[in-house]
Symmetry: C2
Amino acid sequence: MVTDRLETPCIVVDANQMRCNIRLMAERIDSCGVALRPHAKTHKIPEIAKLQIEAGAAGITVAKLSEADVMEAAGIRDIFIAYPVVDPVKLEKVARMSSRIRLIVGVDSLEGASRISAAALRGGVRIAVRLEVDTGLRRTGAPYEAAVELARRLNGMEGLDFRGIYTFRGNVLNGRPTLEVEEAGAEEGRLMVALAERIRAEGVEVKDVSIGSTPTAPYAAKVPGVTEVRPGTYVFNDRMQAALGTCGLAECAAKVRVTLVSRPYPDLIVVDGGSKTFATDVQPDTRPLQLQGFGYIEELPHAVFERMSEEHGMIRVRPEDVLEVGDVLHIVPNHVCSTVNLHNNLVLLDEGRERVVPVAARGMLT
Amino acid sequence: MVTDRLETPCIVVDANQMRCNIRLMAERIDSCGVALRPHAKTHKIPEIAKLQIEAGAAGITVAKLSEADVMEAAGIRDIFIAYPVVDPVKLEKVARMSSRIRLIVGVDSLEGASRISAAALRGGVRIAVRLEVDTGLRRTGAPYEAAVELARRLNGMEGLDFRGIYTFRGNVLNGRPTLEVEEAGAEEGRLMVALAERIRAEGVEVKDVSIGSTPTAPYAAKVPGVTEVRPGTYVFNDRMQAALGTCGLAECAAKVRVTLVSRPYPDLIVVDGGSKTFATDVQPDTRPLQLQGFGYIEELPHAVFERMSEEHGMIRVRPEDVLEVGDVLHIVPNHVCSTVNLHNNLVLLDEGRERVVPVAARGMLT
């Protein structure tokens, strides 16, 4: 196997499966007549963002200015920073970037909007904004009931080009995490389209109604009035998505390659990947996914990845399992986005060749 | 304040407090007549490892070969890789490194020892090893009862220089996590010294008995027969250590600086640091620490850092708290080692100056 000489731990990506994932989502969304703007936070790699655009994406989504910086430097010309940017230093950069590429930023408060307006006026540009709306997740986003009035205020603000509204909910239905992703996507779409209509009734133009995540995007895209969806994880998929029914485990393109370093007891193996290699943000045994352990071990489907310390992964095996120090295993992580973020590089396996690709936009000091 | 122009999120380190922490541990361990070999996994920064050595450390500990590589390149000449290295490619590098500096590697199985022996013979060197022993944590480490026989076998193996034994337990007493760190350190010491005696009774020389963590090191160092302790976290300290009574919150030198980006509801603020900025390996409300939330917010001691998504930190505040979009907050993370590992750089604040220092040994592809 070509990867036998790779030092572990590392993330190996099946490039063919990744391209399949990119194509499949592009086709599903295109068939709904809706724009696809993939979230690049999953991979943080310009080369992969470009594959998504070549497959039909209208542009990309990022979570922070530093990601936009890296993507712009690599030649990407249409970027949505789906996050309320409020820091004056960052907004100065946003203003400059707005004069070079098609850039949209998130906003969810009047104070935030004033700061964007000030930066636009100082920079002599107009900054395109979308109003973020909270549809139940209680993180950023203006409260749903306050959104109409806020949109009206944003629309009149100097230096701002009010584009429309967006939300992020993931797999939430009636305010709770759910496995019913089809209903969740439809509900998200209905909520946001209804809100867009209420804003339009105030005489404010709403061009963009942008919603959706990997599990919900294909369903959200079917709701008339939705203009864009922003899935991210689908590029690699992960164990969480498999549990949601979004993909099979075989469609997970990114796996963490580890080496068995110790088998101190017949029922315990230890691999050289712990919490500095696998993200711990999606904890085992939490509702509604109820994932058992921290990952799916391809070579040991029955084993349970029970515990981690920083560089140790403790896996419960059967005493009769034939496993030795030095064995190499491949683990589908629970959450690939935050796992990729732990690594400086991915190893792309493409038609028998392996290539180390930097995760260029990770961990930036901005 | 000098840090006002730093873009967030970032980790800021009070260099003065860090030097105090380094000096205090060095003095406490030195007064016991025991060697201090700090674990560099906490900071992964050669400059800080050198401060530890200048303060009296006998050498450093690392968790992986890639950390040893970076530390050696920066001029550090005495390194213990406290991990069973089993991969032949890595062992070839270990053999070469052994010819250049004083290097010791961990081993916990006969198969691992054979691999080290083979690499030593191929490289024409002797590789110094310490036998890792499991004293209750059930991760790497030979089972306690098997250690005497394994030490005897290692001692006779060609190419190996058997140095002694080591363990890691942290704050464990009678097999359970505990707040009783003094008793935990003493128990750890007694277990390992007793084992060393049993190995010596077989005619095997045991030079090194290396144990201890930040909470237990000062107590472990008092046990006669212990030769070395390996605390790591103390260089910065964190909320977990404060909960263990190892330090006060005021002795935590590293804080995550974040910006308040949204206050959608009176009782909720959102900051620009989530699970890609704060590690989630030490979860809230778990025994025995029972930490409330994901960090201690210096400016809002009563607030609860309740939830995170990748770039969002959701903090529960009081409706009457005076807080605005754009406010800057400083958060002591639950676990600083895994939090530093998420960042490419630290910002060192030293006598009014700020300096960006790369976390040089993080996220390496080895």
